[in-house]
Amino acid sequence: MKTATDAGLLLRRYLIQLLRNPAFVVIGFATPLLYLALFTPLLRHLAGAQGLPSGNVLNLFLPGILALLAYASGAGPGFSTVFELRAGVIERFRVTPVSRLAILAGPILASMLLMFLFDLVLVLAGWGFGFHVHVLGLLLLALLLALQMATMAAFSITVALRSGEINGVAAIINGLNLPVLLLGGVLLPISLGPAWLRVLAHFNPLYYTVAAARALAAGPLTGTAVWQAFAVLVPLCAIVLYWATSVVRRAVA
């Protein structure tokens, strides 16, 4: 109960901060829209090509962008946590009886709300360009994106708390970005690649999110890709959150 109240109070704080510093919101909006506007045209002639499904290329591409956004939204709280740590804000919260989990949940939920706002804009824009909207599938996808985002956010916040400096966080997050995104099949499906690449991709959590996102956007709610994604992400999210909470708690062993 205290955790929920505390998380609500801190969520409100982070949202107000976001609104008072709208540059982040604008940049956050620009990235997915740029992908949609500048990358999709490259794919126009790929639909129906070898290994790719036919139909509107957005059906393939937009779910990948949603997964990418979930991953990228999770990196943001890590960076803001470094600033908060340096400004003494985290310490001010840690010395209060506020729930340790709520200290994490505040920034995670605020970024998640913003992510869903971007997602909505993307889906609506994609719909205008022929993306097939399957409402139930997208609702289930929202849950999966929330898990993906929370996992990455808890990870990035923990990295920030442990490293304490922007360079350390940037090195780890940026070092992860490229392999995770390439092996996730965000832009092009991994199914196009050779066997070794497909095997390697299975060690990447984002791969499951992307695969399930494509399946859910297409409609069927019970495909293999869907339950696999939940089977990977639910325990992963729980483990990372547990680790993150224990780092916030570390003050008293």
């Binding site: 205290k2 505390d6 109070l9 801190l10 704080r13 107000i16 901060q17 008072r20 510093n21 740590l85 340096r86 400004a87 003494g88 804000v89 985290i90 310490e91 001010r92 919260f93 840690r94 010395v95 209060t96 009886p97 506020v98 708390l161 442990r162 490293s163 304490g164 400096e165 780092v247 916030v248 570390r250 003050a251 008293v252 062993a253």
Partner: protein, 337 residues
């Protein structure tokens, strides 16, 4: 006497690249209810680390500590309800107003909307913040900002307030102003435990001082006791020449009130436990020996004399070589001071 803070043989060791560093090596102290106690020492002495252990922010490696009657190691959650802590950085939200900051803080301590609103108004008045409570914190001056930090530390009426270097970075007027506010808190029954590396701050503000150096307590007492314990007042006598100074020294040596007498050129330097009272007698003694004193100086001992006596170094110089200053904002498990 009831103690709000007790610490016994507190220890903290940080793993480091060049070998482990013992930041706190057996600190014991007691703070009674209603006192302002200063933890005085150079940068790197272990002040902040000790305070962070007492406030549940750092795990205690060795020793015992109680705050508000609770065991800090076993009941950190309960300790947090009863203490306020203002770090060196403060940690207010720049993008929120002073009032918003205080309301959030009060709500995080479980207060209802209405009780917190009333309490915030009270605290704003107490620290002279009412005039700009609804402006964004980033527009505050240094002194206003620091008073808000203190307000954040007391919005939930803690039994004991921890202040880490409260006046660092403030100009003299704002420091004096902040001291007044801290004294006012004590009058309202709040116990205050603060760290400082300023001699004048410890002297002017604190009822009792615990002097710490290299992770150990080297002296403690009221500012007055500490200074008397050193050597008394310093008396400097200037004679005609070194010959006269030598004879004066011979005449004065053996006087019961005099300690640590030394001669340098025509100057005789000595300490007496109550210099002002001793001086006329000493002058009569020299007069009787046919010696003329050309000038004399009497100065009360400073806390720096205390530190010098205990550690062999001046507090103003100590700690500078370690290059440590501001450790808040470090990673959670590594911050040292």
């Amino acid at each position: 006497m009831t103690y709000v803070i007790t610490a016994s043989e507190l220890r903290k060791r940080f793993p480091g690249r060049g070998g482990a560093v013992d930041a706190v090596r057996g600190v014991s102290l007691e703070v009674a209810r209603g006192e302002i106690v200063g933890f005085l020492g150079p940068n790197g002495a272990g002040k902040t680390t000790t305070m962070r252990m007492l406030t549940t922010l750092l795990p205690i490696d060795g020793g015992q500590a109680t705050v508000a009657g609770l065991d800090v190691r076993r009941q950190p959650g309960q300790v947090r309800w009863r203490i306020g802590y203002v770090s060196q950085l403060g940690g207010a939200d720049e993008l929120a107003t002073g009032r918003e900051n205080l309301i959030l803080q009060g709500r995080l301590y479980g207060g209802s909307k209405t009780t917190v609103a009333g309490r915030v108004d009270h605290v704003l008045g107490l620290l002279d913040l009412s005039g700009f409570a609804d402006r964004l914190v980033r527009t505050y001056s240094g002194g206003q900002r620091r008073r808000l930090d203190v307000a954040l530390g007391i919005v939930h009426q803690p039994e004991v307030l921890f202040l880490d270097e409260p006046s660092t970075g403030l100009d003299p007027q704002n420091r004096a102003n902040l001291w007044q506010h801290i004294r006012a808190l004590r009058e309202q029954g709040t116990t205050v435990f603060l760290t400082t590396h300023y001699l004048d701050e410890a002297d002017a503000l604190c009822d009792r001082i615990v002097i710490v150096d290299q992770g150990r307590v080297v002296a403690e007492g009221t500012p007055r006791e500490l200074k008397q314990q050193v050597a008394g007042d310093a008396i400097v006598l200037e004679l005609r020449d070194s010959d006269a100074a030598g004879r004066a020294a011979a005449a004065l040596r053996g006087q019961p009130a005099i300690r640590d007498l030394s001669v340098a050129g025509a100057t005789v330097r000595l300490y007496a436990s109550d210099g002002a009272a001793e001086l006329p007698g000493l002058l009569r003694l020299l007069d009787g020996a046919g010696l003329t004193v050309r000038s004399l100086g009497l100065s009360e001992p400073s806390l720096d004399d205390v530190f010098l006596r205990q550690t062999g170094r001046s507090l103003r110089d100590a700690g500078q070589s370690t290059g440590q200053s501001n450790q808040a904002g470090q990673p959670l498990d590594r911050a040292a001071a």
